[in-house]
């Protein structure tokens, strides 16, 4: 499999504190990957770096078959390259309807002028409905996003990512605050999405990760501690010491 994203030797320091320490990690096309690790391990910061929110002090982030560096790019350029991101705290536009949220995310020209002249089309409406179907919000399209339940907001945000048609989806703690059924459904959505693109999921919940049934990377103090199948990493003594031993399992 060809490499989609290659992060190598990246470090970030906040006020003298090394949040990411010589981190190297790779993702292949259409792979599903879980990233686990204790609080403060640098999981969110890793996503910040890839999506252009945080600039690393050193290291490279290389994207796609043309090996483009993402480091000099703005957030919106990176998003247009095909990297979508779900935040740890669900962030949808609460004042707007589910349909408007999805319409905004839908892959279409993003310039102010095209947006101003944008006309609703049948194709776009069909795309929106297909995505709403996929995330289980087909009958909620007219509702204001702020009225949705916590779980539904998380799905809406995932739906917005899918609407962007990214090649890489970075999902930060999608199951936080969800009920057991909601978690199961979330796993299904993510596994389905990973058939056609790379999906990277940060999650604390071991049951959830087990159900994803994919390669797992353990982050600790800003670098990779272990990588492999869930059984492989959970039997690693260091992982048990720094992470599992602290009551997360």
């Amino acid at each position: 499999m060809s490499t989609l994203l290659e992060v190598s030797g990246v470090s970030v320091t906040f006020d003298g504190f090394r949040a990411i320490n010589n981190l190297s990690i790779q993702f292949a096309e259409a792979e599903l990957r879980a990233i686990i690790g204790p609080n403060g391990a640098g999981k969110t910061t890793f996503m910040d770096i890839v999506t252009g929110k945080t600039k690393p002090d050193e290291g490279t982030v290389v994207w796609g078959e043309r090996n483009i560096s993402l480091l000099g790019m703005s957030e919106s350029q990176i998003a247009m390259e095909g990297i979508g991101r779900k935040f740890q705290k669900p962030t949808v536009f609460e004042d707007q309807t589910v349909r408007q949220n999805l319409a905004m995310a839908l892959k279409n020209p993003r310039g102010p002028f095209s947006v101003l002249m944008h006309k609703k089309t049948k194709t776009n409406a069909a795309r929106i409905e297909a995505i709403a179907e996929q995330i289980g919000l087909a009958d909620q399209l007219r509702r204001t996003a702020g009225e949705l339940s916590h779980g539904q907001k998380q799905w809406l945000e995932i739906g917005m990512l899918l609407a962007q048609e990214p090649r890489l989806l970075l999902v930060d703690e999608p199951a936080a605050g969800m009920t057991v059924e909601e978690r199961e459904k979330t796993t299904d959505i993510l596994r389905e999405a990973a058939k056609t693109r790379a999906v990277v999921v940060v999650e604390h919940d071991m049951e959830f990760v087990r159900r994803l049934d994919c390669k797992v990377t353990v982050l600790h103090e800003g670098s990779v501690l272990a990588e492999g199948s869930l059984n492989h990493v959970t039997s690693n003594q260091t992982v048990i010491d720094v992470y599992l031993g602290r009551g997360h399992a």
């Binding site: 957030e75 919106s76 991101r85 536009f93 102010p112 947006v115 917005m160």
Partner: protein, 388 residues
């Protein structure tokens, strides 16, 4: 397409109908075209109020919809006024100068005419030279272009610098205050080329219409202001509806999310900031001929703060709210400060509203912010919801 846009935004139709009804009413009551119930000066006040409503709508788009609390939009309003004022003053002075030179034996040379005009206009600041910024003042067309171009370019450059460095929130507000303060201080100088603190005056006299009475001129400007407000409202209603509206409201609520969706947030802010600045300038260009005079005090930082207060009281994030706020507060303000409101004797102290109006306004602003965050316009929302 227009049809479906109006159908989807019924409040736009209501607003336009109310505006048309109001315009008709004032026309029928005015001195020039009706039963002379309303004085010419009151028609001017109403016309000016419509211009203030237009800038308030622009302010609502930039602040209420896009979340940029600009405290500098009155600078654009003032610049629009100055731009049109330059032509009005030049052309009017030219008429007077030509009349007074007509009696001479030898016809005056163009140089003599121009010197005489310069003397008339800049005598008060001890100069008679035309500053370079007056280069186009003899052409109505070019000066109208300046109404749009000068504030538009200022907004574009200022916005580009500010948004590119991701200045947001309070810092941006302070920066816009600094901009309007700097502009006003600059204009206060005698060598600014715009007559320092004298400003431009006699703007109510429209060159070429010397024989037309102010009553007629006032109603024509009133119509023009109503037309501008109607078109401006329609234009902004179109901008804030649909996908553009989604994106700019998204920027207001969560800028980072919009960015990660792939939108170049800075371009959108710049777009909104600039077009609202241009519309503000157009409003100013209609306002000052009705006011008759413009001076740098009009661009003082406080003016832009009032603008934000109007929009907050009217209810931001709804265009009619901005109109209600601007009309209500500015008319009330001229009633109070113009001595219309009766003083309140408290025995030990008498409340003179000319002094206390600002205090009352301040309290109302605080009260609205705390208890009615949706402003006066929010009451209308309730009505609409009850009907639905």
């Amino acid at each position: 397409m227009r049809n479906s846009f109006i159908a989807q935004n019924p409040s736009v139709l209501w607003f336009l109908m109310a505006l048309a009804g109001f315009t008709l009413g004032v026309t029928l009551l005015s001195e020039a075209t009706g039963i002379a119930f309303l004085s010419t000066s009151f028609v001017k006040t109403l016309g000016k109020t419509l211009c203030l409503c237009l800038i308030a709508v622009a302010m609502d788009v930039v602040w209420g919809y896009c979340g940029i609390l600009s405290l500098g939009h009155f600078a654009f309003f003032g610049l629009g006024g100055y731009a049109i004022g330059m032509w009005l003053m030049y052309a009017r002075t030219e008429v007077i100068v030509l009349e007074s030179l007509a009696g001479q034996a030898l016809p005056a040379t163009p140089k003599e005419v121009s010197d005489a005009i310069g003397n008339q206009i800049f005598g008060v600041v001890g100069s008679s030279e035309f500053p370079w910024i007056w280069a186009f003042a003899d052409s109505l067309f070019l000066q109208l272009l300046m109404v749009v171009l000068v504030p538009g370019l200022l907004a574009l450059v200022f916005g580009w610098l500010a948004f590119r460095s991701r200045v947001t929130g309070v810092y941006l507000s302070i920066l816009t205050q600094a901009m309007t303060l700097a502009l006003s201080l600059y204009l206060f100088q005698n060598d600014s080329g715009l007559r320092g603190n004298n400003g431009l005056s006699g703007l109510q006299n429209i060159p070429g219409f010397e024989d037309t009475s102010q009553a007629v001129i006032s109603i024509v400007f009133f119509w023009a202001s109503a037309l501008a407000l109607g078109l401006g409202y329609l234009f902004f209603a179109w901008i804030v509806s649909g996908k553009m509206g989604s994106v700019i409201k998204g920027i207001r609520d969560n800028e980072a999310r919009v960015r990660f969706l792939g939108y170049h947030v800075e371009s959108y802010k710049l777009f909104v900031f600039t077009i609202t600045a241009v519309v503000s300038a157009i409003a100013g260009a209609l306002y000052y001929p009705q006011a008759g005079i413009i001076n740098p005090g009009e661009i003082a930082p406080i003016a832009s703060i009032y603008l934000a207060v109007w929009v907050a009281i009217g209810g931001r994030g709804r265009l009619y709210g901005a109109v209600i706020g601007a009309a209500f507060v500015s008319l009330l303000s001229s009633w109070f400060t113009g001595g219309g409101a009766p003083s309140v004797p408290l025995g030990f102290y008498t409340i003179q509203w000319t002094d206390w109006w600002l205090v009352l306004l301040g309290f109302s602003f605080v009260a609205v912010t705390l208890f009615f965050p949706k402003g006066i316009g929010g009451l209308f929302d309730r009505l609409v919801r009850k009907q639905a």
